[in-house]
Symmetry: C2
Subunit: 443 residues, 2 copies
């Protein structure tokens, strides 16, 4: 019998350990993937790709008996060598190679020059070769930033008294209804994939007051745009005991402020690789739907066609308006028309044609839909009836309200869209590890 | 135009704020759900359910003009009153009611006595009425503990240089193969729901060295047991540059150690409600599959029937053996027979009938499967061929190996099973917010 007592400490060093605890002249052991080899005859520079960044290793014939010609890009290796200051190398250090142990080798030359700074390949090709393309330093930095957003979301909400929940994705009925649901057989029953955790997070608000979830959602929409995915990661929260929907916008703004600070402090390296300038989040304008529409139409001379919804171009113009007039990358568009919002949206008591709901635009694109929900059982039943909807399959959802529910509301943020706008990408697929769209189910 | 500047500060206080910053005699404002009302004529005790626990409010006719008969269990309210020390009340405090504002009311009496300490209702009934049943203090405490496990998993792995990833649940092909996949139409294609993020986390190990994911997985197994779910939350990690599969077991042990400490420090209240005694994780025995089988058979006189797998009762006996002989609630069972492990499992070079893989048993039940994976492209192709499997649909997965992959391995932990064992439940559904099984697709 053996025993396992905890994390096995490694002799190999990570970049942050080297930079914090080691000095020029010390012997170090490191591992990594051979990212690029630049051979100049007597001397060769071997750039190792490590999880925290690149580390330059230098080979010279005098210093090692290792044959540099045995080394190929794509190998993974363990290198022993002498740490040395070198201002021209990444992080100002390099390792002068004494010995190399090859851990694994590729079976063929790499299909993409992942060692280049920027992959000059079409998005389509990069997505097709995603497992390899992501080894490029810039490509992978995007998903490190995405990690930071999720960390920010959870850490901030944990600090605000929220509880994390995990709700089912296999459901008997969709939250939003409509035709955009993936359907499947669930043993002898019919099931759909969750379009959102809406019903569940509302029910759980009755339990924990404040809840959040980070999980996939599924939309069988036949969109083929640069903004739509058929599966994406939704950052959802729902909070009880609100005094108005401003509380919800305030909480989202708090999340953005917290997360931008976290990114600035702990993801400096990735921000620099991607040349990201973090947006200001100190003060976000909130403007009524009808006003925003009017303002954008007047300023940019674009006629209003659909009075009940925002066309993508209108979102862009509203974003532009608030960038130009307030310097803000974000704008809350509030009081959406009731007919374009789901049944559970709270109507504005001052004018029930509108709702106490909002979208958050970032760089002229919707990244969030949120709002106050109906919490009164009878009001909910009345609204369902007024829409000629059935309550079949909603019994559990309704039971939460029948047993009493505090005033509440919440939001859903599209993680990939938020990432996309933050990194300044033109296509949401750039910010999705393995995107799913009308044509793409692989890799 | 309005502006939103961040989290809206509330006048209402949470329990932790009261306990930290307020003293007897102070006027306070609190909100909550009316959990229980105990009326004794002149005096009534109103127990408020708040997210951090229960708060006793005391009504007397002399102190307020509010008519206590207007209040019902299930109401949500805002209470103003005077904070007062009271050793017999939860947390040693109570609020002497001055005024009450009713925020919402239930439309009918509650279908379950959620205010009772323990719901004496069948599991089936509690699951049917889940949105209301979870308002019971003991029921909801389970999911606060579950939150703690997820926090522990992420925080620990973030500290160990792992990157969080989000991989698709709609896939063209399942990772494990076999018949236990949910199938659906994906536009003009055929799709399956992910049984595990196995392929994706391996591919991403080639990118980030160490990755993890907390996400739903789907198994169309026709099991109907107290241990199986058809959708569950999987805690997955995968790590590169391992020297052996002990590194993986060490990392999992590190996670358990970190998480038990986190629970002890920050979830004291829930542990106490649920009477949980946290298991020791300082040293976990690791024993070979064949030895464990033999030991349990000899000690408890149970003949070995299936030499290639562990029957549930054998897992229990192995768990019991190591509890009795080592005092350990956990045991790693290592070197599973190759024929019962997936193609990507690394065979033991000393005896390829076995693999460098393991299960972790907790309280005699498997909560984790893990192991070292094959990292060499040709070895992987050979194993696929030896099993008469097709590489169709695995091109992307294989491309990661073709382009070079370090030695690596990882694990998947069933979150609900780990929670179940930790709280000492007999059925995994107790530890699942909204379980999905052969008969249950709602709520």
């Amino acid at each position: 019998m053996k025993t396992i007592t905890g994390v096995v400490q490694k002799e190999t060093l990570e970049l942050s350990e080297i930079l914090a605890y080691h000095v020029s002249g010390e012997k170090v052991k490191v591992n990594g993937a051979v990212h690029v080899i630049r051979s100049m005859g007597d001397v060769a520079f071997v750039m190792l790709r490590k999880r925290e960044g690149l580390l330059q290793c230098v080979w010279t014939e005098e210093e090692t008996s290792f044959d540099i010609h045995l080394l190929r890009e794509g190998d993974t290796v363990e290198v022993c060598g002498i740490l040395s200051d070198e201002t021209r190398a990444p992080h100002g250090i390099e390792v002068r190679i004494r010995s190399v142990k090859i851990l694994s080798e590729p079976a063929a030359p790499l299909p993409l020059p992942v060692g280049k700074w920027k992959l000059n390949t079409s998005l389509e090709a990069r997505l097709n070769m995603r497992p390899v393309a992501l080894r490029n330093i810039r490509e992978r930095a995007i998903f490190k930033v995405q990690e930071g957003i999720c960390r920010g979301f959870r850490d901030f909400l944990n600090g605000q008294g929220f509880t994390e929940i995990h709700t089912p994705k296999l459901c008997a009925k969709g939250a939003e209804g409509g035709s955009n649901m993936f359907r499947l057989d669930y043993f002898s029953k019919k099931a759909v994939l969750a379009q959102s955790p809406q019903f569940y997070k509302q029910m759980m608000t009755g339990v924990f007051d404040r809840v959040y979830e980070v999980a996939p959602v599924f939309r069988a929409e036949k969109h083929s745009t640069s903004r739509h995915l058929n599966e994406y990661t939704s950052l959802d929260f729902e909070m009880g005991y609100i005094d108005g929907f401003e509380d919800i916008m305030g909480m989202e703004t708090g999340f953005l402020q917290y997360t931008m600070k976290l990114l600035a402090e702990e993801y400096e390296n990735e921000l620099s690789i991607l040349k990201i300038k973090l947006p200001e989040t100190g003060m976000i304008p909130a403007v009524r739907f009808t006003d925003a529409k009017q303002q954008a139409s007047e300023r940019y001379g674009r006629p209003i066609r659909d009075p009940y919804d925002l066309e993508p171009e209108e979102e862009q113009l509203i974003g532009r308006y608030y960038k130009e007039t307030c310097g803000s990358d974000f704008v809350f568009v509030t009081h959406y028309p009731a007919k374009k919002r789901p049944f559970y949206a709270m109507d504005d008591p001052e004018d029930p044609k509108y709702t106490l709901s909002f979208d958050l635009l970032f760089g002229g694109m919707e990244i969030t839909t949120g709002g106050q929900r109906i919490h009164d059982y009878q009001m909910l039943l009345d609204k369902i009836a007024a829409r000629n909807m059935e309550t079949d399959g909603m019994e559990s959802y309704l039971s939460a309200f029948k047993s009493g529910m505090m005033p509440h509301g919440g939001i859903g943020i599209g993680l990939e869209r938020l990432t996309m706008k933050l990194i300044g990408a033109e296509n949401v697929r750039e910010a999705t590890l393995f995107p799913r769209d009308l044509g793409r189910l692989e890799p």
